[in-house]
Amino acid sequence: MAALQTSTLEAIKNNQTKLIADWLGGLETSGATRNLKDQEVKQQTAEFLQLIIAGLEAGNGQNLASAGWDEIRLYLEKLSRSRALLGQDSQQTASFIFALKGPLFAVLQNHHQDNPALLAEQLLEVSELLDTLGMHTIRTFQKSREEVIKRQQEELLELSTPVVKLWDGVLALPMIGTLDSQRTQVVMESLLQRIVDTGSEIAIIDITGVPTVDTLVAQHLLKTVTAIRLMGADCIISGVRPQIAQTIVHLGLDLQGVVTKANLADALKLALTRLGVTVSKSV
């Protein structure tokens, strides 16, 4: 493939100011600058153009993976990452690059007016380069979005499994949200660890915040209860709402030997009785 001609590069270099102005105009009309500071966009366009020219001057060719494009690749990665964090979508991020095409083509057309064959060749060259850059931006953008989602998932997992101490020797675990195997694992681990740490004899699992109980959820619950029993502590399940009780019966689930209570207060009362603690009102 024919490389970019020196004269083309010269043309781009000489028209930088015009290119940036047109580019910014294009960005604005396409709405790619929404939620972004004007000053920031201006600076980014100027920096990016500088990097492209530097890359082209070094004669790096089309291969974006080559060392000469390192700088521009890193710059794009930084750019799309910050865009992803700002909550922009992939189209907005990619059009930052693609909006450069129009002005750049105009400059080339102007420059190679009298030689259509050369013009077509150079246009293809520039177009391919910008396409690769655009694709790279999208890929990085997606990757950083996935990172954000993954981090949020982990945070959610941590947030939703607090183990609280209700009384000396009584632990409670208010479950919120759907129970899947991964969450059960986390819940089980943190609860069992707390049982060891505090030497609590009774653990109450409150499922008021669990929207639905199906066979799988029941199985996970039973696993947790069994593990607690193996450790030598007792487990009470509380917060069984009427609908959930109905579902459990309809599904024919066997909560063999598991103590269940309608609400947390009843469960605590039972736990205190087992511990031999009496609570009374002072008149």
């Binding site: 069992l192 193996l230 450790m231 030598g232």
Partner: protein, 120 residues
């Protein structure tokens, strides 16, 4: 040959597993324990596995067997000090050890044994 010590405390036998269990060791323990129960006519057996941080299905089954055979020889068995990781592993392996009594630590296990024996 390596053996797990079985200590006699009054009417009870105390087994503390402080090394990683391998299959032969578990089998030896099973033999030794049944022998000691019949010798001492012990009323209860307390197995402390707090130092055990890894189990496989064989050892899991072994624990169940030991408690089963003690029960047949009229000795209550209490398993104490199971680590969270061990409990999770056993549950995932489907070894829920039905019929085995458990307690958090040796002290509570002893109390449980005494209560059980007194009730009989």
């Amino acid at each position: 040959m390596e053996r797990i010590p079985i200590l006699k405390m009054g009417d009870f036998l105390l087994v503390t597993i402080q090394v990683d269990m391998h299959d032969q060791l578990a089998l030896t323990l099973q033999d030794d324990l049944s022998e000691r129960i019949s010798q001492t006519s012990a009323r209860g057996v307390l197995i402390d596995i707090s130092a055990l941080d890894m189990v496989d299905s064989f050892i899991g089954r072994m624990i169940g067997t030991i408690s089963g055979l003690s029960k047949i020889m009229d000795a209550e068995t209490v398993l104490v000090g199971m680590q969270p990781a061990v409990a999770i592993t056993l549950v995932e392996l489907g070894l829920t050890l039905p019929g085995v009594s458990t307690a958090l630590n040796v002290e509570r296990g002893m109390k449980l044994l005494q209560d059980r024996v007194r009730d009989q």
